[in-house]
Symmetry: D4
């Protein structure tokens, strides 16, 4: 991509054959990130392609080819409400890592147990960029928005059932938050949150 | 009503003529609560009816005829996120008052300024029944749900715009809350929350 | 949880591996409730964990470790419209049981056959707390709301098709009910209804 | 209309000028029914047209020109849950009347006060066709559906707020009813319910 | 059911075990109709129960036990727009047949090929009750509504994709039809349409 | 616009001041089309601007400055279901006229009175491009789609109430039509339909 | 079809048995197009029918029997935003091909890499009819609408997740586009877009 | 607010009396920003309060009391698709200005006239933070996302009708954009976009 963001192949709508073709035509390149690559599709790749691919089952992301060394750390925190939000959080973490950025991850600090968040808040406040990942009511985003003054990127997740409406309630709650200046990505879009963080790090001249 | 709950006339879909007719036919009774009575409809009542009516512009409720003295206090707290949530909060307060129950009201303790809630939480915890009133993201309900162990009645409000979706986001967020055992009423339904509180007070033999 | 409510692990978004890890780390504790544990995930647990787990296929709940003896009975009735509503009703019953509370269950008293409800109504009226479980039109909730004066917790279910909209119609009908003071949980949320009942029993000093 | 149903002019999307033009061009005819004619549009008609028009403010219907005498009575009951449902009920009654059919009307028999319906149910059962009019949760339709075995036409109304969703909840609840064989019209469509009743009376050779 | 309508077991939300239990407890009865019984559930029944059951794969209905002889014919026409609408049409036909009523069925007369409908319209007009079954745009209902003057019961189907919205577009189009007096059932609800037809035949003293 | 389509000012979101500014800065140009210019905004223009403007109240369109003579006729038919659909039909007609194209208009040929359409169908078939305008169920589009083989542009209108959902039902019905090759514009978008017709006439070398 | 459009069998709601029956009864005909024929259904056809069928897995279309030679080329361009949009693009291409029309296809020219579209735009401009296929935000349609002056048929696709809402966002964005004269089909409806193109080619006297 | 963001009073749900009370109690403070203050409410303030208030009718914002001098410029660009998007763009501009930040504004660079955006793109690229404001299809956001590599904050607006769905289509299109790393605010939320920009400027140590 001409704007300098991490290359990524979105595998959700592609057949294993199409994915293999992309990897083969890309094999000369410096490295490729794959997202939404499920176990079945990963298993259907040839042994050779599999060997060249580092796949993460939790986030369904894969690194194909070389991954750059970590060139930046301590600038992005990823804060997730519950363990069910881990896939999106990990997708963000892995996208950042593929661009050489190491994120710090805080899981299970949802507001139903507010003390767990309060125990970590001082630590979180040190990061210029925070990615908040939460489903259901997404109350974590609003609480963080009032306690943290840096750049806050919110990722709603599809965790929950019924009135959670596949993540739309979390999305709307983050958009309508009573805390000022929250920014929101698509549902479960850890990749997009990481790209937005990379844009910020870019203008901060950190990458 | 045979189940012993406070009589109320829902005026939203009624003409001033219909409301006047109801008041006249009711004038022998012990007292009537009117909800959703806006300024225009109140103004259209005859001088005589107006004189017999104590109208509250904020909550658009009115007491027609005698109101019983306060027979119970200190059992219900009404906690509202912002001043924009005051109409629904007041509707609940007035419905309780019309049944002889005095509620304690806490306004502007929304979670974007978490310290405001934390300053009052010990006080709130003393009430067996809490009515939480919040719009937009309704994060107050989830935070309270984790800090307070009594009966929690949640009233979503239509405060906000866009993704707030006229209160549906607050409603869904309360229903999908990560805190356990929250109960929810219709949007802006302070009256219903008060009736639910009265049902609880009834089974606690407090009324 | 600090507020004293029954611990529960929501298994819907978790892998068998994650669930096993939680159970193992919890094995010293007094007992754990698992919800949304389907047959496939239960089967995937090790023989040892399975042996320590009492699983109910209808409600997809499980008790891991010791369950307290019944310490309270006769205070909560669970009233379900049809046999298709039984899973949510049982989830409520099991959550209460895990907290030492025995509920009384009334199934198949939906209003299309009103006489079935009328035959049981006197019995139902004796309980201070009633959990009403219904899908489709959820008319049971409104009818009960007019016949019963205690605390009424309504659980909409996803039973039905087409205009039932996966439980949203039942949810909205309960919220918009013409009967006063009904309180509502998320769709199919028997667990939440039970937690709400436990909050009420707590403030009634019954637990 | 070639199929023999009552002529009607739907005035909601028409200017007073367009309505006047239709009336003038129709003045030779045997009589015209107008629906959704609000006070402002009626007032804007010329004195001559107004004099030839019998307007009903509650239902916003009007009879222009001669109305046939009553030729049939005792065959259609219109049963409405609350006084707020009266406009749609009256629209049905007036449409029937314009076709020479006198309907019997039962208002305020909603199920939150079930005894009010039970007091009238024997009387209602005598009619071959019943039009049930209800908003909010529309529970009246399901209860009637289980108690009455004749032809049941259900009219959802837009009465209510929030989760009532302008009548869509009542509509969906009627469509998803647990009682068998209910038939449903558009929201607030008393006119359509009356036309459907006329179709039934026609095939019964009553008109 | 006390109101005299055909007994039916809705199998969609029930396990094969629950269905078998219902059949066994019912075996003394005169005959049972089952709806939404899919191939897998039918296959899971015991050989004995299967032998006592006449199952129709297209409509997923089954007759358990004796079926009454045909006692009425020539009064109900079922008119379906396309072959994809056949399941709902057949469900209506089988429900009527289980009550002793033989319906006449007209398939593939959708309005995109208007001449196919026009070829059959005179024949259709002879029936006092018509059930119109259509998905996607459901234009068949409106066209029939203008050409046929008897009782018209409309069944929207979930046929189509995208903007067909699982049948909601057909449902709304039937409800909002420009033809007067159409009555509508839930999506794919052939059973409900048949029950409504039986109610009409009842008041016509035909059954 | 560089692609050669008729200039238009969409006035819905603009103040009279902003509209006046656009007209003044445009006064040297060859002529301007204004859409969604309501009576109030037109009245607020200065006498001079009003004098230079030919305003149509039905379609809320205006021609500012010179209008080209008719250069093409007989190629576009505009077919509207009812008189309530006239505003959108007229908006299309006026947009075409402003580009020098004279359309032929057929109003009140909706399918509830199918014979009215059949009386005109031979005439309509002579046009290479037809714009079909309909609200509510939009059945006209499907019927035309099966009877007419030329280019069919469908404009859903917001006519109707309840299940008509402000035109969304008509929109979805047109998109999901059982007739092949229908193309659809936004709700009430007569302007867009005319622009699409102009694109077609352009590639046909007629303009 | 009497209006001269390509015959097509929509297989989505049909069993393999029903499809086989249609093919057998059609075997005398000149050739049949099948759409939405998935791998499983194709595999279930008899060897004989399979041998007479040319099936395309990407678009899930099949040609049964003879296909006419190409009689027209260079008139229709199909422009798709990404490789995930290829199925709908190919369905359009194959439907055209079945009618003897060869389309030119441009894949992966989405606007996130605007230069890719700009590189091809001159070439695209030469076609009188363009079919634009795009999912997610569908921005390609608006950009093309401003750069291309011929007939523009837009096909929204269901590509994406979360806020893409199964193609509804792309559909709405195309309908609400700021570029004038775009026409839209149902989501993923490549077949419909091709039929609309054939209607245009017909009135251009090209077929 | 403790996190250092610009104080703002959201006036949409407040009466003039409530707003006056807030201003009076705040009069000692350094200055207050008011949003959603419409003409009617501003007019209802006392002469004294009005004199102390600088009100902007386009954005419905007001500065009450002293405004800090500009302390930062050249870091935030606000790019709006059309003049109808100006209110939200101006709300963002004014919120930044109230915090001492001068933004550069680019209006009317929507993608239907792509050359207008291309003419300005080099200039826009110089800003580390860009706020993109667009309604209807919101294609501007996606195009900018591919051409600009800095921090991109997207504000959907409620401009448009029908399928624009009061801004929800623009919101969803921005969230589902094919360009990576876009961040989104609530519909029409220029205030929130400015607060997010201030958070970014803060972590860049520019304020
Ligand atoms: N069936 C259920 N429905 C709703 N909430 C649940 C359910 N089961 C558990 N929970 C809640 O989810 C919490 C556990 O979430 P987790 O940490 O993700 O396992 C519990 O403490 C409950 O508050
Ligand atoms: N209140 C109503 N609700 C639904 N349809 C109506 C109503 N009033 C009239 N109609 C129908 O609309 C037709 C008249 O439409 P129009 O020609 O636009 O006046 C009548 O013949 C009826 O079929
Ligand atoms: N993929 C498709 N999308 C939309 N409509 C289709 C499609 N394929 C076929 N059709 C339409 O459906 C008709 C056939 O329907 P059927 O008789 O049910 O096979 C065809 O004549 C087309 O008008
Ligand atoms: N236009 C706006 N859109 C969204 N949030 C706003 C807006 N204006 C003010 N706010 C937020 O609402 C808070 C004030 O709410 P209140 O106390 O009700 O006046 C501010 O601190 C902001 O966080
Ligand atoms: Mg947790
Ligand atoms: Mg506040
Ligand atoms: Mg039952
Ligand atoms: Mg009443
Ligand atoms: Mg067909
Ligand atoms: Mg008409
Ligand atoms: Mg691509
Ligand atoms: Mg512009």
């Amino acid at each position: 991509e001409r704007i300098g963001l991490s290359e990524a192949v979105f595998c959700a709508g592609k057949t294993p054959q199409q994915i293999a073709a992309i990897l083969q035509s890309a094999s000369q390149r410096a490295g490729l990130l794959l997202t939404r690559l499920d176990a079945e599709k990963f298993a259907a790749l040839s042994g050779e392609l599999k060997a060249a691919t580092e796949w993460c089952p939790l986030s369904q992301t894969a690194f194909f080819g070389p991954v750059p060394p970590v060139s930046l750390a301590g600038n992005v925190a990823i804060v997730a409400a519950g363990t069910s939000d881990a896939p999106a959080a990990r997708e963000a973490e892995r996208t950042l890592r593929h661009a050489g950025v190491e994120a710090s991850v805080f899981i299970d600090v949802g507001v139903a147990g507010l003390w767990r968040l309060m125990d970590r808040i001082e630590e979180i406040r040190r990061f210029p960029v925070v990615v908040a990942v939460a489903g259901m009511d997404a109350a974590l985003a609003s609480v963080l928005g009032g306690l943290y003054s840096g750049s806050l990127i919110c990722v709603p997740t599809s965790v929950g059932y019924g009135a959670a409406e596949q993540g739309r309630t979390a999305l709307n709650a983050m958009l309508a938050s009573c805390a000022p200046g929250l920014l929101v990505t698509n549902i479960d879009n850890g990749y997009g949150a990481a790209c937005a963080a990379l844009r910020m790090l870019g203008v901060m001249n950190l990458r």
